[in-house]
């Protein structure tokens, strides 16, 4: 659902997913707590859980891949502690 009309001449709107997860070398105590809960609730066989964040963006065609990397790497994620991926989902 679009809440804002795109500006004139920028009709194409793409959905972009940004996923952020804490770096593997940094302890993720929330992930460990979830792992412990899984084993308590009868879900064996899971050796690791890392908790992260997922962002859904709706962007017009003026937003480049470089813009998205800038947004993801400088605000949505903190590059000191987190890794991130940017995925364009579709255009409509």
């Amino acid at each position: 659902m679009l809440f804002f009309k795109p500006a004139e001449g920028t009709t194409a709107v793409a959905r972009v997913a940004v996923d952020v997860v804490i770096k593997s070398e940094i302890l993720d105590p929330q992930g460990k707590a979830i792992l412990a809960a899984l084993s308590r609730t009868g879900h064996p066989g899971i050796s690791s859980v890392r908790q992260g964040k997922h962002f859904d963006l709706e962007v017009d065609d003026t937003v480049t891949d470089e813009d998205l990397e800038e947004i993801a790497g400088h605000l949505l994620a903190n590059s000191v502690i987190e890794d991130w991926t940017v995925t364009r989902l579709d255009t409509r």
Partner: protein
């Protein structure tokens, strides 16, 4: 002319009142600064106090680091103005790129609220010159995201340059099985650090809550505020 120390209030800041009181206890003027301010009202130093700026949305300190007043703080800090970030303020300074590393969720997952022993490691910075090297102080600690982390190379650099201000220690009588010296799993027991020039400092525990035995565990926190006054008066004399 007496020094003027700015204290920032973001939406969600909690400790601005105590920080301003601590500034006044050190004999200088506390100047309130608002998150939307575009300039620093001519202050000589800035304290970024604790709390939950912008509800800790995204990451603790991440939104505050983008606030208009922080643009002015970043410019001033890069020109040598002393800046102290306490707790959420430390998180803001790291998110703003003024200090290296980051503060993440406590290893034990719990919000830790207790009086914490610290050992002074750097007593030459703008904010710690009133402490004796190796001095042990007791001030409050209260946070859920207080675990200091940085790449190993950065930690080595901080240690090599003497930029660790304070480390967590246990008290002589504390039962360490109940209260481990390091409350949150911070790398190398780091409670606070400073910039290479010693003017930008960040600390997770709260010196501004320990300025008077009437309301705090000690008055050990006053040293931060007297130190920066000494620093500012030295700058003005020279």
């Amino acid at each position: 002319m007496t020094a003027r120390v700015g204290v920032i209030t973001f939406p969600g800041t909690l400790d601005d009142v105590d920080a301003a009181r601590a500034v006044r206890y050190s004999g200088v003027e506390a100047v309130p600064l608002w998150h939307a301010d575009a300039d620093l009202h001519g202050v000589d130093a800035v304290v970024v106090p604790g709390g939950f700026s912008y509800g800790d949305y995204l990451r603790a300190g991440a939104i505050a680091a983008q606030a208009p007043v922080m643009r002015a703080v970043i410019d001033a800090a890069k020109s040598g103005m002393p800046v102290l970030g306490i707790c959420n303020g430390f998180q803001v300074l790291c998110e703003a790129g003024l200090l290296p590393g980051a503060l993440v969720r406590n290893a034990g997952l719990k919000f830790v609220c207790r009086d914490q022993w610290l050992r002074a490691e750097n007593t030459t910075s703008a904010w710690t010159s009133r402490y004796e090297s190796g001095a042990e102080i007791l001030i409050p600690l209260k946070n859920a995201e207080g675990r200091y982390v940085a790449p190993e190379a950065v930690l080595d650099e901080l240690e090599g340059e003497g930029r660790v201000l304070f480390r967590y220690i246990g008290s002589a009588t504390a039962d360490t099985t109940l209260a481990p010296a390091n409350p949150n799993g911070a790398q190398r027991d780091i409670a606070g650090i400073c910039s290479a020039d010693g003017r930008i400092a960040g600390l997770m525990p709260h010196p501004e809550h320990a300025i008077d035995p009437l309301t705090g565990p000690t008055d050990d926190g006053l040293g931060f505020f007297f130190s920066v006054v000494d620093f500012l008066e030295g700058v003005k004399v020279s």
